[in-house]
Amino acid sequence: MIEVNELTKRYGDKTAVDRLSFTVHPGRVTGFLGPNGAGKTTTLRMILGLDAPTGGATTVSGVRFRGHPRGLRHVGALLDANQVHGGRSAAAHLSALARSNGIPPRRVDEVLREVGLADAATRRIGGFSLGMKQRLGIATALLGDPPVLMFDEPVNGMDPEGVLWMRRLFRRLADEGRTVFLSSHLMSEMENTADQLVVIGRGRLIAAESVRDFAARSTRLSVVVGTPLAAELAAVLTAAGASVEPEGSAGAEKLAVTGLPADRIGALALKNRIPLNELTTRTASLEEAFMELTADSVEYLAGEPR
């Protein structure tokens, strides 16, 4: 469990994080979304005690993280895969970290095998691809078998097979009861990976809810209807309060309907004896919802998450 309460960070005149509050629960994968410069990384750094907040507080499992003398058994974190020394081997890098936390050396081999780097263990990290460094960063996070895991943009530089592997790993970690918190700007990735979302813009909270609720916020939720009697149906639906846009091509006319659910449209068509050959609910993608909500983050400021 990660708790962030009224967290604020100012650099001179610039407010990077502005009275941010949210909770990340265990047993779920929570996505942390926001456009570039929204304050995601700054927030993660404050949770990890790397940066001191200007105001507010943050705890991990009820405790301020900086208060722990050793951290790896409490939180596993991957902030930036390049935060390693290129001159060391993967095994040496992990061994030094493991030793500092009193973690047995065999754990190094275990996590290297888990992330698929067993064969590269003795190679210098400087020669690693970004994808391999991401895997090493994940190995670092897993080293202490922690109940809370945080990853900043973990899929950067991963190949499709790697992305799939990572997605399964996050799911498994959450199913084991751990708190999994991922930052990303890749909406499509979140749609496939996360259960919950925390969305911020310009350092302020925009939304903290389930992925499904978030997508449903979009005003572009619409139903596509195909019918040979497009003009008649359009008149019926408009009369019922929907807004209708013509779509498709001549001979295969379709209507994009917003404001009425699919079952109501079907019922209205039956009542008016209009045949339908298509009735599809088009859910807005997370991408669209995100773009819409962050376009002017100030507008969505009002709602408090809890």
């Binding site: 265990p26 722990h68 790896l72 902030l79 390693v84 060391r88």
Partner: protein, 284 residues
């Protein structure tokens, strides 16, 4: 059934069972970091060869001079400290130890590894102390090996003119210890400056300036200026190696032996204390 997206059933998180945080684990960790960089043994080997080589060159010069002077080879000679510990070699040792000491921390800052380290060990002051302890231990061993080696090589050469002295000769042991400790003193000063500055090139430049250039600015003809000069590690080292008493006729002020030992203690102590104080307050 109610919508329960906000409160799904969760497995309980794995419990955290943690052994006590031990400082010696941090020492072991820093030692792994130190020895896993290939540059460390190379730098140490080359520096050792260079410093001992410089002692050989200095001793050979006196060897040739003694041959030319036709001085009696029967007469017992005094210890020639700057043959065993020539400035060319030991100022280089200061520069290398100071720079490597700085690099042990600066490399973590420039690569960002310091953030990974700090997440693993949120007790930042302990990390700096562990680095300082490992750096001090490593450079004390290297410094002792170099100081002993350059003494033995220089005396072996001077023995060819019966001008060598044994290690038990008066003044030899103090010169040896001062030269051996010069390396850890400078390495710790470099480490402290590295934490304060964090930027590679600026740190190495500052280390070189502070250790080698700064003392030359302060002449020893004025009291206040001499006091500053005597507070410099390089002056302290010279005074401790020098085995003749200060010339009472000289117009220059001379550093004292106890004062020079104090300089050896205070510089690294202040550098490390400042580093610990700063890392506790600063964002990583």
């Amino acid at each position: 059934m109610t919508a329960s997206t906000s409160v799904p059933p969760t497995a309980s998180p794995p419990p955290v069972s943690e052994p006590a945080a031990r400082f010696r684990d941090l020492l072991a960790s820093e030692w792994i970091k130190m020895r896993s960089l290939r540059s460390t043994p190379w730098t140490i080997t080359l520096t050792t060869l260079f410093v001992i080589g410089s002692a050989a060159v200095a001793a050979l010069a006196d060897y040739n001079k003694l041959a030319g002077s036709g001085a009696s080879t029967r007469e017992p000679r005094d210890f020639l400290p700057f043959d065993a510990y020539p400035a060319a070699g030991y100022l280089t040792l200061m520069l290398v130890a100071g720079s490597i000491g700085a690099v042990t921390v600066v490399s973590e800052y420039s690569s960002g590894l310091i953030r990974t380290t700090t997440v693993a060990v949120p007790a930042r002051g302990s990390v700096v102390l562990a680095k300082a302890a490992v750096t001090a231990a490593l450079w004390t061993v290297v410094g002792t090996a170099i100081a002993t080696g350059s003494f033995l090589v220089s005396q072996a050469i001077l023995n060819g003119r019966h001008a060598g002295v044994p290690i038990t000769h008066p003044g030899v042991l103090r010169a040896l210890v001062a030269s051996a400790l010069l390396a850890p003193v400078c390495a710790l000063i470099g480490l402290g400056l590295g934490v304060l500055i964090r930027h590679s090139a600026t740190t190495v430049l500052t280390v070189a300036f502070t250790l080698l250039m700064l003392p030359t600015i302060f002449s020893r003809s004025e009291r206040w200026s001499a006091d500053i000069n005597h507070a410099m590690p390089v002056t302290a080292w010279r005074r401790l190696v020098q085995n003749w008493p200060p010339d009472p006729e000289s117009l220059a002020y001379t550093a004292t032996v106890p004062g020079s030992w104090i300089v050896y203690v205070l510089w690294p102590l202040i550098a490390v204390a400042l580093a610990v104080a700063v890392v506790r307050r600063r964002d990583v």
